[in-house]
């Protein structure tokens, strides 16, 4: 392990442990690490946007391919910053409207065409009694689950009588789904801890011991 690697590992370990120290309680080490972290993340955006957007998408095409009209999105982008002014704040609405409108145009169709249509189509399952019992049970679970969930989130009528019964079944389905979600997610959270612990033990402690011996 070279001296550079050694220092590097110790720096990472210092910041990692500073952040973990919050588990015990809030402290200056934690605060310092957290502020450095916020600054670095902001700085990262600057480097990224500078190269990938300003240079690659605007300056280069304008200078090399003569696509001069790319100055317009640049101006629209710059207009965003008028938000910090009290009197001219409304100017930023123009650029925001351009982006929001475009996204809305894509979403209006993609949500209906790409989500609603295929999802309801694949709920149209056969409940023909001649199919294998396992498939039939699964079809019934899916149909009941989808319809009662939709009914649970139906607000135009009081949940009484038949509707109330369906909504009650809906909440049972929802709880099963949330339980599955919770059980599944335990893994996600622990994974992240394992990653950090692997670093601390293998690279930091292991590496340091190796260097010392």
């Amino acid at each position: 392990m070279s001296l550079v690697d050694f220092l590097q590992t110790w720096i990472i370990a210092f910041f990692t442990l500073s952040l973990f120290s919050f588990l015990y309680k809030d402290n200056p080490f934690y605060k310092f690490a957290e502020h450095i972290f916020a600054g670095l993340s902001a700085g990262y955006y600057v480097g990224l946007i500078w190269h990938s957007v300003i240079i690659q998408q605007m300056v280069d095409p304008m200078l090399q391919d003569g696509r001069w009209w790319l100055i317009f999105p640049g101006i629209l982008g710059a207009m965003m910053f008028s938000r910090f002014s009290k009197n001219y704040g409304w100017v930023s609405r123009l650029s925001l409207a351009f982006v929001m409108g475009n996204t809305a145009g894509i979403f209006l169709l993609s949500e209906l065409h790409g989500k609603v249509l295929p999802q309801i189509q694949s709920t149209m399952l056969s409940v023909d009694l001649k199919q294998p019992i396992g498939d039939l049970v699964l079809s019934i679970i899916i149909i009941a689950g989808v319809i009662t969930t939709l009914i649970f989130f139906y607000f135009s009528k009081e949940h009484k009588g038949l509707l109330g019964g369906a909504a009650r079944v809906g909440i049972w389905f929802i709880m099963i789904s949330f339980g599955a979600h919770f059980g599944y997610t335990v893994m996600a959270r622990i994974s992240l801890l394992i990653g950090q612990v692997q670093f601390l033990i293998n690279d930091w402690i292991g590496g340091t011991l190796q260097a010392l011996l």
């Binding site: 588990l23 015990y24 993340s41 990262y44 955006y45 990224l48 946007i49 190269h51 990938s52 957007v53 240079i55 690659q56 998408q57 280069d60 095409p61 090399q64 982006v99 475009n102 996204t103 894509i106 979403f107 993609s110 949500e111 065409h113 790409g114 989500k115 295929p118 999802q119 189509q121 694949s122 899916i142 789904s177 599955a180 979600h181 599944y184 997610t185 335990v186 893994m187 996600a188 622990i190 994974s191 992240l192 801890l193 394992i194 990653g195 950090q196 612990v197 692997q198 033990i201 293998n202």
Partner: protein, 292 residues
Amino acid sequence: MILAYGLLIIAGIVLLYLAFKTGDRRYIYLAVAFYVIFPVLITLNLPAEISPEVRQLYEAVDSLPDSSVVLLTFDYYPSTLAETEPMSRAALHHLFRKNCRIFTMTTIPLGGPSIAERVTRELAGQYGKVYGVDYVNLGYKANYVAVLKGMGSSIESIYPADNTGTSLDKLPIMKDIRNYGDVDFIFAVSDNSIIDYWMSIVNAQYGIKIGTGVTAVMAPRYYAYLSSGQMTGMLGGMKGAADYEKLVGKPALAAKGMAAQSLVHLFIILSVIAGNLIFFIEKRSRRREGHR
């Protein structure tokens, strides 16, 4: 070995008892730390069955013809590296071995391009692949909805250059890749709901097969797309990554992590059961007092 297990179990019970006794959840934290650290020190090998949705993805990738064009996305933040990076690595092993032409992209501003560069270059080195010929990193562009949609008509209109600024027409690999029509498969690795848009925009409107690697937080939601046939296979969390590593024959970080996962999961299950037992005993004794 038996001694180690015995120690583990006793420690767990003691910490659980302390947690109940004092009501201080820091004993639980201590137990979690203990169970995560322990398997990192000692390797435990555990057999596991491969989930069907992982096998589906593996087979979809495996049945691609030689030198197919595959888009591999790095749609994740550094915060979930432990879960998602093993997926990207396993995917790259598989794709490089099959001589696929790979191009990568990211919709994550914070770190996405840096992670993609680091991981692809490292693995390309192992397989002797050449940048620009066998693989390329397109990097990041803002507003993912427009990026996903725009690549449908022309990749070059959204990405005039790759991540390091080389113009696309100088890269041999991109010569006959114009838009989604020239892409054979998309392998999207993500830790956020961008997967919804890969399904509702790219799969629904351009009809390309998309397999995904997602964190365990997202996975339960995406069974809906698996079931509707919009998604071709899924790796769910570290278990999905470990399964894929196993199928590719490169057990690595995820496989190693599964031992720690097992221990912490078992501890949590144990604590839930113990908690409920106490809950019921208390309830019953309270009821008995009520009768008196």
